[in-house]
Symmetry: C2
Subunit: 264 residues, 2 copies
């Protein structure tokens, strides 16, 4: 998601001065066993729900081909970096924070931990992932591994075909309501669990009703990334999957549409 | 790469009628051991070399942030689908062929085989990967596994900072010269080795001097994908790495910029 900033210059390739060190890449041999590869990304289209009012645009620059014909067909795309399933780099929200090209490859292949808040979210669209949720998850499924992506499964992705108002959770007074992360949970995960980042299946890491976006600030100042608008998290195990984050490698990019795959 | 097509309608989500079946996903438990994660993608920028004359464009839609300030910064991007390190879907070149959303997740996590033609390419920019190259590689490194991505390492990515003319290999008469795949090698790999796709570290699967693009046609009719403009293939082992292809998930997309990671 995105609001207007207030700064002057982008200083890429440095970290925010208040940031904790991002997790060191594990060293030595790692083994990844899997039977399934799942796509956690929405298809990007001009009609897709978005946080910003602007929608992605596409146009055919070479004419579509007749069935079986050999030729060349392609489209041109225009979109904001925070469109569809996408990654927020630290520099999206913190001046001088790392931008997409500064994120190391090792930070894009990480263990996934899925915190299921679907039952609560069905009752309360303003629910957030709390420290207690993390502690309960660890009691049931073991510790959050260093370098993990901690993902909120709220079930909100089921609304994707229903238009902006459903996905934004627009109330009668125009306010927005969808689940997200409590900033204290982000602080806990960053400082005590050395995560690589967090992820949500809603439009923003902060819940829809937030106006000051504290979860974004905690994650950004800690030099970690956030994934927004994931889909299909309900298929993943609570722990044990590996996430591969294929973020669009734009120059000076604050984030980018991402093909996110999960292996388990 | 891209030339003007001659067809009328896009029929997505069907395969070309002449296509062989794409390789079935392996079943059962797979194990991926690795020590390294490498990024095989170029950063997308307005100054990057491209096959098409049109360059990607970016603009800041929210102002950059002052150092340490909290706010929101982001850019808007406009580009052709065949820009930067990118995937060609079968429907890029064959009418009715599969488009990006039709490619299964299992086809995006595949074994990598790297065929090193750097010595030849340094002497002859028109060199191509041949059936004999594949056979020699198999004698030295073992069989190309089913579902593999077979990648040409020509060393051409070292030219990336040197501008379009160097990357396109423009001769005095204006003709283009860079290495690619011989269509017979593509046919061999598709029909006898059940590959998922091919990849090159140049601007096109066909060599720069080609005017009829037969390697594109073979790969497209066989319902396989191609990766173009990879970088860093010289770091990969000849066999044993795993490729993760994070292609931009555009609606009806003929291809898309891709974050390609290799694990080994």
């Amino acid at each position: 998601m995105c609001l207007h900033g207030t700064g002057e210059t982008v200083r890429a390739r440095t970290r925010g001065t208040e940031a904790d060190a991002p997790p060191a890449a594990p060293t030595g041999q790692r083994t990844l066993g899997y039977r399934r590869v799942a796509d956690l990304s929405h298809v990007v289209s001009p009609s897709m729900p978005t946080f910003d009012p602007e929608k992605p645009r596409r146009e055919a620059v070479d004419p579509p081909l007749a069935d079986g014909a050999f030729g060349f067909f392609q489209q041109r795309w225009t979109f904001l970096e925070h469109t569809g399933t996408h990654l927020d780099a630290p520099g999206h929200v913190i001046g001088g924070g790392r931008l997409v090209p500064d994120i190391r490859s090792e930070e894009l292949v990480v263990p996934a931990v899925v915190i299921d808040v679907r039952a609560r979210a069905a009752q309360d669209p303003d629910t957030v992932v709390t420290v207690e949720d993390v502690e309960r998850h660890e009691r049931e499924h073991g510790p959050v591994p260093a370098g993990a992506a901690v993902l909120m499964c709220s079930g909100w992705d089921a609304r994707w075909g229903q238009g902006d108002d459903q996905v934004r959770g627009v109330a009668a007074d125009g306010s927005w309501h969808f689940p997200g992360f409590d900033p204290q949970a982000c602080e806990y995960l960053v400082s005590r669990r050395a995560i690589s980042g967090v992820g949500v299946d809603t439009l923003s890491t902060d819940p829809g009703a937030s106006s000051d976006f504290p979860a974004h600030e905690v994650i950004g100042r800690a030099d970690r990334w956030g994934l927004e608008a994931l889909t299909g998290l309900d298929r993943l195990p609570p722990t044990g999957a590996t996430l591969m984050v294929g973020v669009f490698p734009g120059e000076d990019a604050s984030g980018g549409p991402s093909r996110v795959l999960a292996l388990w």
